[in-house]
Symmetry: C2
Subunit: 155 residues, 2 copies
C-alpha cells in the first residue's frame, strides 16, 4: 500500500458548543472500543473511523481527537505491529499501562503512549506529536484484536 | 408561593458516556442563554429549565449542573432580586464579573457567584454550596432580562 501520498484530512465530527468528548480510559474501552470491535452500535457517533497510519499527525483534524484505526503487523505471522505512517513512524515510549475497572482489579484494556518521528527507522527525528493507543487485552479471544482507539495530541 | 415544600428533584439530562458539558462563559451566554431568552432553538437540549429557587441545592441532580431559571424580584417595582430558596437563601459573594467576547472588549453578559445559607436572613449559616449566575447585560432592552443560567456546585 502506498503510504506516502498526501491524503485529504478526514472530516471533523462537529459537536454542539460547550460539549466536549473527554472520556475516561474506562469509558473509552467499555462503551466505545469494545462495541466497535464487536460491531455493536455505539452510544454516540463521535469517534471517526480512519486508517490513522496513512496520515501525518498534523494532517488529522483538531489538536486532540479520537479515532478508531486498524492495527497493522510488520510480518503476517508475527506479533510486532507496523507503525510506519505517511512521512514518518510512531514509536512506543514508556511501558504499557493496564486499564482497570473503577470497581475492581480486572484489566479491561491496555494504554500505550507513542511519539511521532519524521523520517525512516532507525533514523528519523522526534516531533512533539503524541498518541495514546487503547486496545483490548490480548487475552480476549473472540476478536482478532487488530483495532485500536487512538488519541492524538500535540504537546 | 409556598417555597418550603420538599419537591422532587428535577430529572437528570443524560449524556452518552464520555461527553461532558463544559461550556466556556462565552459559549454559555452566546449559544444557550441568549437563545433561551429570545425563544430561539438551542444547539442541544442540555440545560434543564427549572425554578431553581424552589429547591435546596442538595435536591438538585448531580454535583455540578446547569439550569435555566426565572429571576424573581423582592419588590414588584424594585431591582433587588429575591434569592430566597426552599430552606435557605443564596447570597452574592465577590463582585460581578463581565463576560467579554474572546475577540474584543464587548461585554456580552455578567457572572455572579452566590453562596447558599441555611435559615432566614439576616441569620442563617453558610454552606459549601456555590452557584454561578450568568445573565445578559442589563442594557439589553429587548428582553425583561429576568432569566438566568446557573451553575451549581459543592466546593
Amino acid at each position: 500500500m502506498e503510504k506516502n501520498n498526501k491524503l485529504a484530512a478526514p472530516s471533523h465530527i462537529q459537536l454542539p458548543p460547550g460539549l466536549r468528548f473527554h472520556p475516561s480510559d474506562e469509558e473509552l474501552i467499555v462503551h466505545y472500543l469494545t462495541n466497535n470491535v464487536a460491531s455493536i452500535p455505539l452510544p454516540a457517533s463521535i469517534i471517526a473511523e480512519i486508517d490513522l497510519y496513512k496520515y501525518n499527525p498534523w494532517d488529522l483534524p483538531k489538536e486532540e481527537w479520537y479515532f478508531f484505526t486498524p492495527r497493522d503487523r510488520k510480518y503476517p505471522n508475527g506479533a510486532r505491529p507496523n507503525r510506519a505512517a505517511a512521512s514518518g513512524f510512531w514509536k512506543a515510549t514508556g511501558t504499557d499501562k493496564p486499564i482497570l475497572t473503577s470497581f475492581g482489579t480486572k484489566s479491561i484494556g491496555v494504554k500505550k503512549a507513542l511519539v511521532f518521528y519524521e523520517g525512516r527507522p532507525p533514523k528519523g527525528y522526534k516531533t512533539d506529536w503524541i498518541m495514546h493507543e487503547y486496545r483490548l487485552p490480548d487475552t480476549i479471544a473472540w476478536t482478532p484484536n487488530r483495532k485500536g482507539s487512538m488519541r492524538v495530541s500535540s504537546s
